[in-house]
Symmetry: C2
Subunit: 205 residues, 2 copies
């Protein structure tokens, strides 16, 4: 296995496999096949086998995959066999929703700090987490060696905040602002923009 050479498009499918496998495990199911998994998530069995085989031999012909084993290996590959501290910058509606979101539990992430530039919000507590001033952002991120951030500030502020996050050592940004961020090559950015997701579907209507 040469981790550096695996295309990002394959890496992007691994969390989807993991989510489906965890759901099967929650139902008490111990084994699955690429066919079954493919039907659940709408990806071809051949694609799933090919993707997973990039990381070694996990399945047995005839018996398929052991779900607990494959989950463990996927968590290891995706570096989820630990909990990553995550910060949220921008405590508007979306920041609040994410601070209270319970979908990160057991998936490798824990929101530990919140930031906003509005003095009226600083000091408030959301889901037992305090909102700090963005003036303290770089210092607190460095102190706590935060590597992962969710960015829920307005588009007009997003690049400036992203620059601060990068300066402070953040290497993964989930960007909710509908603009492209310019970051160094060693920083990953993923976008969540509901309008682009909707636009991708209206084509077919």
């Amino acid at each position: 296995m040469n981790a550096e050479k695996i295309p990002d498009i394959i890496i992007g499918r691994l969390p989807i496999y993991l989510r489906a496998l965890q759901r099967l495990a929650d139902q008490g199911i111990q084994n699955t096949s690429s066919q079954e998994l493919g039907e659940i998530i709408g990806i071809s069995a051949a694609q799933i086998r090919k993707d997973i085989s990039q990381f070694g031999e996990f399945g047995k012909q005839g018996t398929g995959y052991s779900i607990p084993f494959l989950i463990e290996r996927l968590r290891e590959i995706l570096k989820l066999n630990r909990v990553w501290d995550v910060i949220i910058v921008g405590m508007g509606d979306m920041g609040h929703a994410l601070a209270r979101y319970n979908g990160f539990v057991n998936r490798g992430f824990q929101v530990t700090m919140l930031f906003d530039n509005d003095p009226g919000k600083v000091g408030q507590v959301v889901n037992n987490i305090e909102i700090y001033s963005t003036t303290a952002l770089v210092e607190k991120v460095r102190q706590n060696r935060i590597k992962v951030a969710m960015l829920t500030v307005p588009a007009s502020a997003a690049q400036e905040v992203a620059d601060q996050l990068v300066k402070a050592g953040v290497k993964a940004i989930l960007n909710y602002a509908p603009i492209h961020l310019n970051v160094p090559a060693d920083v990953r950015v993923q976008h969540i923009d509901p309008a682009t997701h909707l636009q991708r579907m209206t084509y077919y209507l």
Copy 2:
């Protein structure tokens, strides 16, 4: 142009191009090139040219693309030269955040109805939009010929609500619940699941 044959992966990039073009237009810029666009969004110029050429000849060698013209064509291709009514089902934190979200303006969508199964929420108004009971979902969706829905209910309820949406005629679902939905082939589903986006980045940390 044979719309049916264009791979979904290309369709998925068009809203990204459109977003970047609209941002350039907002800055008063009239022309761009695949090189410039590629630098803004981190996709190769060759890929952009290839994607756009699927739909006809838009660029001129040497002068590049006319931004207003390309925006108009992309909006036409993606069926965004109209405003789609969108409903939100599930008025928890995420439903509230989406109901108040201002990122749909001028991007082809307008949230027109909200639904929740909690009698305590029914009748409330969020961003001037009334929350209806999910018992009225099928009727109201049919009456108003709604085709697009955002699903922000808990994972345990998502499939059941999706079934109702499909029954009522919805053809595009933006699913915030972290489960795969089973829908007929003529219904499109897109997922927004912040944990999978984060997991795709931790691989590189």
